[in-house]
């Protein structure tokens, strides 16, 4: 293929997918590096393949990630020492000025100490400010979700489905309860429930079981000890549900249910 255009249009997608073996891949790369037309086709193929990411079950990152990121960003912007690092002592002229220096040294030391303390205080205030910004953003998001949930509850066609624990559930995971609100017309769904913590290598996964077809993943979650889980998700609109269920799956979830069902809520 080196020096020639790829023979089939799908070659671009297969390259973007990473499916080509070494020799094919190298030949493809050596051509695309020198062909603007093919580089453009590859950019579009990368986009077509990139969106396959949307097949992954939704998993929200923990709020701590954003908090740590913003701290890292603030620290990098200001840098350790910040303006202090740029403060250089005046060059000494020796002799005549030596006594002046001796006299001014305690003042300069006090001034430097005060500067360091002020910088530390400033750092602390910046961190508090970042925390407050994060808290405000989280609260705004929670409020928006609550409003959406209120609208969902108020809708006439919304189903309220309690989910109950199953007798055959694995030991320690047989106690739990949850409630699902499902609006098929909008494809909106909320989950509120309690379950014991999942084992380290496992996650809980919520499923919508339709009247026809395979179960649809509605989210993966790992509740902390004693805490309620709340989730709101958008599913394909217009799906008639037969029941909702929560299963115990390998960490991160699976495309289809493979583990034991711990909660089930049939639609009566």
């Amino acid at each position: 293929m080196s020096g020639e255009h790829p023979t089939r249009p799908e070659d671009f997608d297969l390259y973007a997918l990473g499916a080509l073996d070494d020799a094919e891949r190298k030949a493809f790369e050596s051509h695309v590096a020198s062909c603007a037309d093919c580089a453009e086709k590859l950019a579009a193929a990368r986009g077509r393949i990139a969106i396959l990411a949307f097949a992954a079950p939704p998993v929200a990152p923990s709020p701590g990630v954003k908090e740590t990121l913003m701290r890292q960003v603030i620290a990098s912007a200001e840098g350790p020492g910040g303006s202090l690092a740029r403060v250089k002592p005046e060059p000494s002229d020796g002799g005549v000025f030596a006594r002046w220096w001796a006299a001014l040294l305690p003042v300069a030391t006090a001034f430097a100490l005060a500067t360091v303390l002020l910088w530390l205080h400033n750092e602390q205030l910046n961190r508090q400010l970042a925390d407050l910004r994060n808290t405000i953003q989280q609260q705004q998001q929670e409020l928006a979700e609550t409003r959406h949930q209120a609208d969902l509850i108020a809708a006439r066609e919304t189903l309220v489905v309690p989910l109950w624990s199953q007798k055959g559930a694995p030991e320690g995971h047989g106690e739990g309860h949850a409630r699902v609100l499902y609006n098929a017309k909008e494809g909106m769904m909320t989950y509120d429930g309690w379950l014991p913590s999942a084992p380290a290598d496992k996650s809980y996964q919520l499923w919508l079981v339709p009247m026809n077809g395979a179960p649809i993943s509605a989210g993966v979650f790992n509740p902390k000890n004693g805490e309620m889980s709340h989730m709101m998700m958008k599913l394909p609109a217009g799906v008639t549900a037969k029941e909702f269920a929560v299963s115990l799956e390998p960490a991160g979830g699976m495309p289809h249910p493979t583990g034991p069902m711990v909660l089930v809520g049939p639609i009566s």
Binding site: A19, P61, L69
Partner: protein, 186 residues
């Protein structure tokens, strides 16, 4: 109450948020994080099946964006596409324990996505569309696509994993990408 500032950030384009990051505006990075972290976290967790590793990579990607935002040229490709490609590359490199693939920089990896993914509704609609398109593939084709995309396996490695002849695997993947292209980008 959602403030006017928050509403403005929800409506801001990726390109304008990148411009603000270049001017060292932390709130613009926070807005892009709010917009895309869920999308990236899902694919990272699906590939790695390790929440801690996924969150490390997620944080690292956004920190790289903060440091190198000036390299991004919105006229050449989409930010959401670049984020998805980098997240997948890094997760697969971690999974297969080799160094991150080259072409990781904002200026090197041009990705063009036909849909505008800046609104959460657009992302949710695309999610339904992609899931529907994959559900419509024959079982073997879907499995081959998932092995390539989520596990980073090549034709030969898929053949080895599934025990199917190499030619069969190649045909399946070729048919699968053709069908997906037709269904998702008519």
């Amino acid at each position: 109450m959602v403030t006017a500032e928050k509403r403005a950030e929800l409506k801001a384009t990726d390109a304008s948020l990148i411009d603000r990051i270049v001017q060292r505006d932390e709130s613009a990075l926070a807005a892009l994080y709010d917009r895309y972290s869920g999308m990236l976290s899902s694919v990272l967790n699906r590939i790695l099946r390790d929440t801690q590793a996924a969150e490390e990579i997620l944080q690292d990607i956004f920190y790289q964006l903060w440091r190198n935002a000036a390299q991004f040229d919105a006229s050449r490709g989409s930010l959401s596409g670049w984020l998805l490609v980098i997240a997948r590359n890094r997760a697969i490199s971690r999974l297969r324990r080799h160094n991150p693939a080259s072409g990781d920089e904002l200026s090197e990896n041009t990705v063009v996505i036909a849909s505008n993914l800046e609104s959460s509704i657009a992302r949710q609609e695309l999610m339904s569309k992609v899931k529907g398109a994959l559900d419509n593939l024959p079982k073997e084709q879907r499995a081959a696509i998932e092995l390539a995309y989520f596990e980073g396996l090549t034709h030969s490695e898929i053949a080895q994993r599934t025990g199917d002849p190499l030619g069969t695997v190649k045909t399946r993947l070729r048919s699968a990408v053709e069908t997906l292209k037709r269904d998702l980008h008519p």
